[in-house]
């Protein structure tokens, strides 16, 4: 092997080209929308893997992937009940390649509770809603209470009990109950429904708000109360995403209604499918935001 510098330079170039080939194959961000989508889409989920939103999200990802013909990667960005993921989305490129699937309370309720989260309905675009779910207070099957009233009785005799919280809203419910009834609660921060199920089954918490994932464990867990309002799982995009992209996603999402596999997934968490297209979704977010503002103001709850 003799030393020929020119040949060596060529070989380095070759090695470097291997690396650059990976970068070179990629279209620039903000590519023309007529061809959307041309590369994998990132679907953000605001909770850790294993919960109801994650479950529905993975079902939606599969449907979207089938319809759009590109991979849809589910990426869990847990934190503050979806607020962290929402902020990540807000700062993403409005090119349709980063989307968030999240209950719309992250926009219509959380901003009233968390000062740092100043989201408004108009800060985002919406490509539709797919499921509607109610929150239930879940506990172990053998817990010595079956209603909220019985729970409060029990909690008075058991100060320092542990309650699992997935979101600012869940935290607020317990703080309000505890303050009104003089209870002493340890609020355990959880990152997703999977963690919550583990905490319930492992008896680390006595109670937690669940989006429905606990219905998968009918022999071990029960509900003692259910909210009357619905949360809607919404496909949210960054402000400024072109309308043709939203329409493409909205149409693709609609096919989930008739998808057998998707129905099986939602049934397992007792979540009804309730599709809304992009315009109905945007209207629902605005309407519920205005309604909640009145409620929170009337109740004198301030964000912090």
């Amino acid at each position: 092997m003799t030393d020929i510098p020119k040949r060596h330079a060529l070989q380095v170039m070759l090695a470097a080209t291997l690396g650059l080939a990976m970068a070179g194959l990629t279209p620039a961000a903000g590519w023309a929308d007529e061809t959307y989508p041309t590369r994998p889409i990132t679907l953000l989920i605001g909770y850790a893997a294993g919960g109801q939103t994650d479950l529905v999200g993975r079902g939606v990802a599969r449907v979207l992937s089938n319809e759009l013909g590109v991979p849809v990667n589910v990426v869990n960005r847990p934190g503050s009940g979806g607020l962290v993921a929402t902020q990540v989305l807000q700062r993403a490129q409005p090119d349709g390649y980063t989307v968030l699937l999240q209950g719309h309370s992250v926009i219509n309720a959380d901003p009233f509770l968390v000062a740092q989260a100043d989201f408004k309905p108009d800060d985002f675009e919406y490509a539709g809603m797919i499921t509607a779910f109610q929150l239930s207070l879940a506990t172990q099957k053998d817990a010595p209470f079956d209603t909220i009233a019985e729970f409060v009785e029990w909690a008075r005799d058991n100060p320092g009990f542990t309650y699992g919280s997935l979101s600012p809203l869940a935290r607020l419910y317990m703080e309000e109950i505890a303050e009104a009834e003089g209870l002493q609660a340890n609020i355990l921060p959880l990152q997703g429904g999977g963690d919550m199920i583990n905490a319930l089954l492992g008896r680390q918490v006595v109670l937690a708000w669940s989006g429905g994932i606990h219905y998968r464990y009918p022999d071990e867990l029960k509900s003692i109360a259910t909210t009357t309002t619905y949360q809607r799982t919404t496909l949210i995009l960054p402000k400024g995403t072109p309308r043709p992209i939203l329409e493409r996603l909205s149409d693709a999402l609609a096919t989930a209604q008739d998808d057998e596999d998707f129905k099986r997934v939602t049934d397992s968490a007792d979540v009804p499918i309730f599709y809304m297209n992009l315009d109905e979704a945007a209207e629902e977010v605005r309407h519920s935001y205005a309604a909640n503002m009145e409620i929170f103001e009337a109740a004198g709850i301030e964000s912090r």
């Binding site: 092997m1 590369r39 994998p40 869990n76 680390q204």
Partner: protein, 517 residues
Amino acid sequence: MEHLIAGFANVLTPATLIWVAIGVGLGYTLGAMPGLGKATGVAIAIPLTFYLEPVVAIATLIGIAKGSTAGSAVSAILLNTPGEPSSAATALDGYPLARQGKAQKALKMALFASVIGDFLATLLLIALAAPLAAYALLIGPVELCAILFFSLTFIGGLAGGSMIKGLIAGALGVFFATVGLELETFIPRMTFGALELDEGISLIPMAIGMLAVAEMAVQAGKMRELDSAAAGIADGSDPDDRRVTSSDWRRCLPAIGRGTAIGSVVGILPGLGASVGSFFSYGVTQRLSKTPEAYGTGMLEGVAASESADNAVVPSSFVPLFALGIPGSVVAAILIAALIMHGLTPGPRMFTQQPQMVADIYAAMLAASLIMLGIGLVGQKFFALVIRVPMRLIIPVVLFLCCIGAYMDSNSIFSIYVMLFFAVLGYFSRKLGFSFVTFLIGFVIGPNLELTFRQSLQILNHDPTRLAGHPVAVAFLVLTVLTVVGIAFSNSRRAVRESLAARAATSNPRKLEEEPR
């Protein structure tokens, strides 16, 4: 099992195989170049895989890790300069073989040993990870917190010469992980008003800076020495010197078997690293030999023992990552970012939620082993040339790729600033002997450590006596204390032994860096 068969069907497509081959080839080339290890290669390549399908992307990255582990034997044998510290044991007998004109034989045996070790250890990963994951669901926040605490101390104690420095580096890693939005209250911490820091410091620019840019700065400082170390080696005239004969196989197979077993066990334990595996395997083979005095003069078994163990460590170090979500090595820590980015959260739920994707990755890993055999055999002459490329040409190319990689992480120039910041930190941690391995692992487990600690406080009702109800956690806390005491005692002895081994491994001036496993 049916998932695995379907996995092979999914993976054995031309497009996937080409990407895996590119990954292995790139890794092999990087591994062959002194100073460019697997962690560096994977860190630079992660952003470049954004646009690939998840399984293809992960397989490409794992291909780089596997390829560079095998490739580092090339420079160990030809230049007596291991491409990675873990191949230092390979140089002990590989370089004398090359001087005797048997370079090709040594290179081929190194490759065969690497492939066998790698393939068998991948099978072990497939067999062990899922059953272990089933137990992981029994572990609650209190137990997890104790286990994370234990792993960090264990890794901090083992990586690098000084335990105090290792623990300081780990604590700094945890500290940098606290930057960004606080997860429960949504309040930014230590961001100094910089919106880019709200989501925390991104692992990829950090890892590229600490591993690649800092290493290039160190290498640039000794460019002349490295360039002058390249020496011509002629091939022998006997054709048997250029191939592995059946008698060679008979001699080396037991060494490969032992090496694979040792490497697999070492890989599963967090923090031990590929260097420990290869030196341990080399030592055992030498001790069991009838002619231990001949080692160091060109024994093919030495090459086989070291390389099989070295490569077996890589897949088996993914066992704790896949089963529990706990990274036991730098490559595993960097892969967490890649896995999450491509939609797969490492940990016990991965097996129940996405069994097919896991099986696809397994199939791709097995395919990567076999591809490595092909690429190694075809490309060894080429790789032998690559390592002679002068450092002054390599460094600018690598720095360029680093900038691209960091930029692509967020499409913002801020990522390049982050990279530069951690390049400076990485440079000084190398110069001052602080372990960047512990730092990175501390950074990766930091958020989980914080969360589980806070959860533990709530679950225990802020009452330490309630720990009695968590025997597993107590056991790990006791283990942590024992580890600290034990390592503190043995560390001074270990430092002496390692400096001796390093001196024996490299007679040329290149300093043996600490293990970037």
